[in-house]
């Protein structure tokens, strides 16, 4: 077992475990903290795939900005004590069974797909580095980039308009 494989299995187990803990924990603040662990694990996967730019952006945008926003909202509402009424257990069971069945369908579809059975996701090659991505972003994808800035502006205005009152 090489170091890459050990890291892959460790990060996968960490991501799955913390994703489950997001659902299981009663306290919303704990859920947010577990979700941050999931994002760190996924960033580790990006680094293993040599997509370093996306790893850093994932950490900064998700674990840094979005999760802090979630924490702010939770603490603003003072939801720290678990006051959430539970769904009845039949609906819970139905939800869990539905999720497991969806996973089963996907896994069996992947196992029977012949096209991808010998493909590897390599970690070599520099396409995930910032130089290459920046060149393509600012030559071929300039228009979507500018449109996304307009999207941000409208989201900002929308959030302020909805939030005030």
């Amino acid at each position: 077992m090489t170091a890459t494989e050990i890291l892959f299995w460790f990060l996968s187990a960490l991501a799955l475990f913390s994703a489950l803990m997001v659902l299981i924990s009663k306290n919303p603040v704990h859920s947010v903290l577990w979700l941050i662990v999931v994002f760190f694990a996924i960033s580790g996967h990006y680094i293993l795939l040599n997509a370093q730019f996306l790893a850093i952006v994932n950490l900064i945008v998700y674990a840094g900005a979005i999760m802090v926003l979630f924490l702010f909202v939770i603490m603003l509402m003072n939801l720290n004590n678990a006051s959430e009424p539970q769904r009845n257990s039949l609906i819970k069971l139905a939800g869990v069974v539905a999720g497991c069945l969806l996973l089963m369908v996907m896994v069996s579809a992947v196992r029977s797909a012949g096209e991808i059975s010998h493909s590897q996701a390599t970690s070599d090659g520099g396409i995930g580095l910032i130089e290459n991505l920046g060149t393509v972003l600012f030559t071929q994808y300039v228009v979507p980039f500018e449109i996304s800035s307009v999207l941000f502006l409208s989201a900002m205005v929308g959030a302020v308009v909805i939030g005030k009152k």
């Binding site: 990006y46 040599n50 969806l102 090659g125 989201a155």
Partner: protein, 113 residues
């Protein structure tokens, strides 16, 4: 690593997110489950881009290949849209909390009758 491992990992994270949306009643937890699903898809896109790169670089020897860059930029744009979505969604949840003093999604059944 074989691409199937990444596909199954992303499918598992995605299904955990789906289960979270179905099981929990807290609007913020539901929102976080949606973020989980978005991240599973991002991971899958990056893995596929590297697979695509491996296939292309095996086909053309001794050449600079840029195959797969598009997928990673796609992930970048998904992150941009997700950030905008989170800001608006959290504003909506705050407004809902102000109106009903709760973030239980079962209070939002005014259209039911």
């Amino acid at each position: 690593m074989p691409i199937q491992y990444y596909i199954i990992l992303a499918a598992a994270i995605f299904c955990i997110g789906v289960t979270g949306v179905l099981v929990r009643r807290n609007a913020i937890i539901i929102f976080m489950s949606i973020e989980l699903m978005l991240n599973a898809v991002n991971l899958l896109l990056v893995a596929f881009s590297k697979m695509h790169y491996a296939v292309a670089s095996a086909a053309t020897k001794n050449m600079e290949v840029n195959t797969g860059t598009d997928a990673q930029l796609f992930v970048f744009f998904i992150m941009v849209v997700a950030a905008a979505e989170v800001s608006v969604g959290l504003a909506i949840i705050v407004m809902m909390y102000r109106n009903v003093r709760s973030i239980d999604v079962n209070f939002l059944n005014r259209l039911k009758n």
